[in-house]
């Protein structure tokens, strides 16, 4: 990911916009969605009325005008801070989305009409927004693809760097798993005809951008449950504050409305209440920054709960494709001759395996000249490829295929080659047997190269409690070897698409949550079945529709990051809730003595912070309560760090930091604020 995306949390232009939004969000219709802050808004309105009445008729029972105005202003600031937190999170999401959207501005499109005005397959120039679902357009080298679609004809190299940041061009072609193109990307060579798969403004990206911007964000189940708990706390403190009035009357202790409201606002969990939606938006924004677009906030949250992770071997655990690592000639065959034959058979072979044989042999093929060679291409039927020239027929292929050829010609498959084949297989390699004129002359060992650093990532996943499963088409022997070497917990060998599906279903039946990545159309059912399905952006439209996230980088290890983002999201909510509630201890000790101290002087003993005066105590508590919100915005946006140290250890750590810290910090904070406020009140 490019570093330019990690800009500072508070950019000037974003802050200005967010400040404006903070005022707009004061609209009660919007505020009521957040019960905690709605209560603060009501309290603020009441304070305003109190201020006005004191201004016109001050009988001294409600304290000085300055004091009341101060309380009003602080409550108002608390509201603005909370709104600002949400607005800045949205603004960051929007800014992120904007950079995506830039790639989707109006571009000219060459629309193809099957039955045109004059002749068939007529091409007209329209703007991209006029393209409807089902329309077809045409792109050639140099064109910007106007909107999402699926290639129905042709093949092209495409530069997707605008979306993925990856500069290497990719190949997209009709049919198969790499047929989808994304609006905003650029065709570098060749020409394609594309069918539009989304209505304007409703393309996959458009929908997801809207989510990130917060416009269509829905509360996740955990967020709902937390809101219920926070509403519960709010109601408890409504009861506490309302009943305090008759209690105080009984004790002949008049309480000012300002003091009662201050106590109330301090006690209800405004810190988490104010930051809750910011945390949720920031979670999706973090996913977007990792170049993953999520269909819903819920998907990010679910990612944090994943128990099982299905990963394709190729490209995820191993680097792309197998490479040749050894030549093993049969007995009585000259090694140099065998190597040369192997190279000859691979001369026209453009598969990575073929190329790697030439590479390993270190023979310059341009120096080799043969007369009238016939290249035999690999087919699924023969399961071998090779070359014919003069009277030489060289073939290379799977053990079974070559065995068949050689035995058909009456040769015996050499014992030592059979032995070698077994050794190679059990070491996780793939044997490629080479025959010359139907006689086996040796075997080439192909090995999977495990990505550097991948086993550390699996170790990290294991510590998170996530089981990793490798999916591969290899035989069980090879699969086992690679699985052990890479450090995955389980593998599915010789996997057919339905095997993935069955594995997911089995794990789900046992109550586990499963995540998988996929790109092909045949992955779509499994992607839909998985609790978290991440489709590659390069994948087919079907795969993208089936999953609930799309990875723009096409990086299969991205799931690990997604899991961490999901966990961070929950942790941030949990720790800030704990912090918010733990703060109440100190606030009680600041405000409650202040309420009664004038009529019950003995309660001075309860003023353990030795705050200057009742007014300064109350003001300090509300000021602390207000400024803690903006102070915690960076934490809410960045998220509390997740450490895979086991649940109990993590709880201990966070309980100490945010629980115990939440008790201590406000004592210090309120005392410090009081030192300043005490100068005036």
């Amino acid at each position: 990911m490019s570093t330019s995306k990690n800009k500072s949390l508070f950019q000037k232009d974003l802050v200005a916009g967010a400040l404006k939004q903070a005022f707009i969000k004061l609209n009660p219709k919007l505020m009521i969605k957040n019960p905690v802050m709605f209560c603060v808004e009501i309290g603020t309105c009441v304070m305003l009325i109190v201020c006005i009445s004191v201004l016109f008729h001050n009988d001294g029972t409600q304290g000085s005008l300055a004091y009341n105005v101060c309380v009003f202003l602080i409550l108002f600031l608390t509201l603005l801070f909370a709104n600002f937190a949400e607005a800045i999170a949205e603004a960051r999401g929007k800014a992120q989305a904007e950079s995506l959207r830039k790639t989707r501005e109006e571009t000219p499109a060459k629309k193809v009409s099957e039955i045109g005005k004059i002749y068939s397959d007529e091409i007209t120039l329209v703007v991209s927004s006029e393209l409807k679902k089902g329309d077809m357009f045409f792109c050639e080298a140099g064109d910007i693809i106007p909107t999402d679609g699926e290639i129905i004809q042709g093949l092209a190299t495409i530069d997707e760097s605008a979306i993925t940041g990856e500069s290497a061009p990719v190949i997209r072609e009709a049919g198969g798993d790499k047929s989808s193109v994304t609006g905003g990307t650029k065709v570098l060579s060749d020409r394609i005809t594309v069918r539009v798969t989304a209505e304007p403004g409703e393309s996959f990206l458009d929908k997801m951008i809207a989510l990130v911007e917060g416009a269509s964000r829905q509360k996740t189940p955990n967020e709902i449950a937390l809101t219920i708990l926070l509403a519960g706390f709010t109601i408890v403190f409504i009861i506490v504050c309302v009943t305090l009035k008759p209690f105080a009357d009984y004790a002949n202790t008049p309480i000012t409305i300002a003091a009662l409201l201050s106590l109330f606002v301090c006690l209800i969990p405004t810190t988490i209440g104010g930051l809750l939606s910011a945390i949720g938006i920031a979670g999706m924004d973090r996913a977007l920054r990792a170049n993953v677009i999520t269909k819903s906030g819920k998907a990010v949250e679910t990612a944090g709960d994943i128990d099982v992770l299905l990963l394709d071997k190729t490209g995820t655990i191993t680097i792309g494709n197998r490479k040749a690592t050894h030549f093993y000639p049969a007995n009585g065959i000259n090694e140099a001759h065998f190597i040369k034959s192997a190279v000859l058979s691979s001369m026209a072979d453009q598969t990575p395996e073929g190329k790697s044989i030439v590479e390993l042999a270190a023979i310059d093929i341009s120096n080799i000249t043969i007369n009238k060679p016939t290249h035999i291409k690999f087919t699924a039927e023969t399961r071998s490829s090779g070359i014919d020239f003069a009277d030489v027929r060289i073939r290379k292929g799977s053990t079974d295929a070559i065995k068949k050829i050689s035995e058909a010609a009456g040769h015996i498959f050499p014992e030592e080659i059979l032995e070698r084949v077994k050794i190679i297989s059990s070491n996780g390699g793939t044997p490629l047997v080479v025959s010359e004129n139907e006689k086996v002359i040796g075997v080439v060992e192909l090995q999977d190269i495990i990505k550097p650093g991948i086993s550390e990532r699996f170790e990290r996943l294991r510590k998170m409690g996530i089981k990793t499963v490798m999916v591969t088409g290899d035989n069980p022997l090879t699969a086992k070897f690679i699985a052990e070497k890479a450090g995955v917990d389980d593998f599915i060998a010789e996997a057919k698409p339905e095997d993935k599906m069955n594995y997911i279903k089995k794990e789900q039946a046992e109550g586990r949550l499963v995540a998988m990545m996929g790109d092909g159309t045949n992955d779509a059912p499994a992607l839909a079945q998985a609790d978290v399905g991440v489709a590659m952006n390069s994948g087919t439209q079907a795969a993208k529709e089936a999953g609930n996230m799309v990875d723009l980088d096409n990086d299969p290890t991205k799931l690990i990051e997604i899991v961490e983002i999901g966990k961070q999201l929950l942790i941030t909510r949990g720790t800030l809730t704990t912090f918010s509630i733990a703060n109440d201890v100190a606030k009680y000790f600041a405000i409650v003595p202040a309420l009664f101290i004038t009529s019950i002087p003995a309660l001075q003993g309860l003023n353990i912070m030795k705050l200057h005066s009742p007014e300064s105590a109350i003001l300090s508590a509300v000021i602390f309560n207000a400024i803690i919100i903006p102070l915690l915005i960076p934490l809410a946006l960045r998220g509390v760090e997740y450490k895979p140290i086991g649940a109990s250890a993590l709880l201990r750590r966070n309980l100490l930091l945010y629980g115990f810290g939440g008790v201590i910090v406000p004592f210090i904070g309120i005392k410090l604020i009081d030192l300043a406020v005490g100068l005036f009140f």
């Binding site: 009035k245 733990a582 409650v592």
Partner: protein, 566 residues
């Protein structure tokens, strides 16, 4: 260690020593394994046959609740009518009158809900018929109701729980025939041998050393006093409760009664460990609850043994501790221990006058009832604790980055809604009740409830509602509470404070039982660790205790600071 403290420590250790095997026994009993008391089976079968109940029918959580609530309703009607008419019924040698409707209402509810708030005095307020047929009867069945509700929750917590969570009537009856009845017999026997009366004769008349004639009430009291403690009921035979020399004759009976009231609540914690095969969980719960008890006990013992500075100021020796309102035969330490045990456990029996406790002790007694989850009442204590576990699981689940789960089941919005409502209920009942009474008194002091207006009077009102909401039953007895206002308001608080905290946990457990079990992984938050214990303790103290801080400041704390600042 001084002897008084030694007595308390010995009592507590003895309790644990007895509670562990009892817990094992309870677990065996409900697992359907063979136990010593299997000879009760024919008797139980007979009862089921007569009442036409098939004890093998499995019930889901809703059916359990329906059964529980309907039989409770029946008992209430029965008790209400009996108390209203007791004066003209038999077994009334002292010729005591019938109760007024509001007092009958309050008393019937109070005993049905295992609270035993008494707005009357046993010697003159009840007849032997109602003492046995209403009071003692309800003391058995209300304790059994609590145990049965808890066992249903245990069943729902099982790994392979299904819709069927046992048969309510079967569990209920067995908790009487196999637990409460046999142990009560043993306790009653000990009491009788130490001088507690068990006779149907009316008042006795004796001549004192000074030559005065004194009438002494008695009756078939021993059995009732046994179940009053064993079932965490607390309502005394005599008005002075266990401070009365016949109800609690000596230090030995005092120990027995203290052990008896904590026995089942602690045994049920261990039973949870044995029954669900989660012993570590039960140890953690026991640890948290014990720590909670110590949080309240230590300040109380210190306050009581240090004596009253105001009295010391008058030149009266306070080396025995603050002895106002306490019995010399028990001493200040044992009385302090009792006062905390009886308040955290919802027994509400007293061996000293809580109204005369030091302000700090009063605050601790109040907090014991406000939290109401450290050991807690028969069965219901763990149900209250269960709610706090759910909230603690939720918050700490978030803190470790996983959708919260308890024993493999996800805690979601619906469960949180119920848990939050139940956690809200307690502060609501107590604070609103006290607010109304404060308001009424402030506007018309002629209602005359309070003998000491001021902070202490406020504490008395706060205590009365706290005791009602917690179904405790003890009182700061300075309050004049036998009148229409207190009988009716506390009556409603009692009902709500009893049944909602039973319905809530049962519903949550029932809903959770129907959810799929999520297998444990290293990412799963374990609930049987010390860390989670600390979390639960913090949740209880912050949610249950903190909400009452302002009220406590205006009551006992104001009194404390006033007392010690002079």
């Amino acid at each position: 260690m001084n002897t008084e403290l030694f007595g308390v420590v010995a009592t507590f250790l003895l309790t644990i020593l007895l509670a562990i095997p009892l817990g094992k026994y309870i677990s065996k009993l409900y697992k359907g394994e063979h136990t010593l008391l299997d000879f009760m089976a024919p008797f139980e079968r007979f009862i089921f046959k007569v009442s036409r109940i098939d004890p093998l029918i499995q019930m889901n959580w809703k059916q359990h609740l329906a059964a529980l609530l309907s039989i409770n309703m029946l008992w209430f009607v029965y008790a209400f009518i009996m108390l209203l008419t007791q004066g003209s019924l038999f077994l009334n040698p002292d010729g005591n009158p019938s109760m007024s409707p509001d007092l009958s209402f309050n008393t019937a509810i109070s005993f049905m809900v295992n609270c035993n708030l008494q707005h009357y005095s046993g010697e003159t307020g009840l007849t032997y018929l109602t003492q046995l047929g209403v009071i003692t009867f309800l003391q058995f069945v209300s304790a059994a109701t609590g145990i049965a509700a808890l066992i249903v929750v245990f069943n729902a917590m099982k790994a392979k729980a299904t819709e069927g969570l046992g048969n309510f009537f079967d569990i209920f009856l067995k908790s009487i025939t196999r637990i409460l009845l046999p142990i009560s017999l043993v306790i009653a026997a000990i009491l009788v041998f130490n001088g507690t009366p068990a006779s149907f004769d009316g008042k006795d008349t004796i001549t004192t050393l000074q030559g005065d004639t004194v009438q002494i009430s008695r009756g078939p009291a021993a059995g009732m006093i046994a179940i009053k403690h064993l079932g965490t009921n607390g309502g005394g035979w005599f008005g002075a409760n266990s401070a009365h020399p016949l109800e609690n004759p000596n230090y030995l009976t005092n120990m027995v009664e203290m052990i008896a009231q904590v026995l089942i609540p602690i045994a049920l914690i261990f039973a949870l460990g044995f029954y669900l095969n989660r012993r570590k969980l039960s140890y953690v719960i026991f640890g948290v609850m014990t720590f909670g008890m110590l949080t309240f006990l230590i300040p109380t013992v210190l306050a009581e043994t240090n004596g009253n500075p105001a009295i010391a100021h008058m030149g009266i020796d306070q080396s025995l501790g603050s002895m106002e309102g306490k019995e010399v035969r028990f001493g200040s330490t044992a009385s302090a221990y009792w006062s905390i045990v009886t308040t955290i456990i919802s027994t509400g029996s007293v061996n000293s006058m809580h109204d005369s406790s030091m302000p700090v002790s009063g605050a601790m007694q109040l907090l014991g009832m406000m939290t109401n989850a450290f050991y807690g009442g028969c069965g219901v204590g763990i149900l209250n604790y269960y709610i706090f576990i759910i909230i603690a699981v939720f918050i700490s689940g978030l803190m470790v980055g996983r959708t919260p789960e308890f024993l493999g089941r996800k805690i979601e919005a619906r469960e949180m809604k119920i848990a939050t409502m139940i956690a809200l209920l307690h502060p609501f009942l107590i604070l609103v009740g006290t607010a109304i009474s404060s308001y009424v008194y402030k506007n018309d002091p002629s209602v005359g409830w309070l003998n000491n207006p001021g902070y202490h009077g406020f504490s008395e009102m706060l205590y009365e509602y706290t005791s009602s909401a917690a179904n405790n039953g003890s009182g700061f007895e300075g309050l004049g509470d036998n009148n229409w206002f207190w009988n009716v308001t506390t009556g409603f608080v009692l009902i709500l404070g009893r049944f909602l905290p039973i319905i809530g946990p049962l519903a949550i457990a029932g809903i959770l039982a129907n959810k799929k079990i999520i297998p444990e992984s290293t990412g799963t938050l374990r609930t049987d660790t010390g860390t989670f214990g600390i979390m639960t303790y913090a949740v209880i103290m912050i949610i249950a205790a903190l909400a009452f801080f302002p009220a406590l400041v205006l009551g006992p704390l104001a009194e404390y600071f006033t007392l010690y600042n002079h």
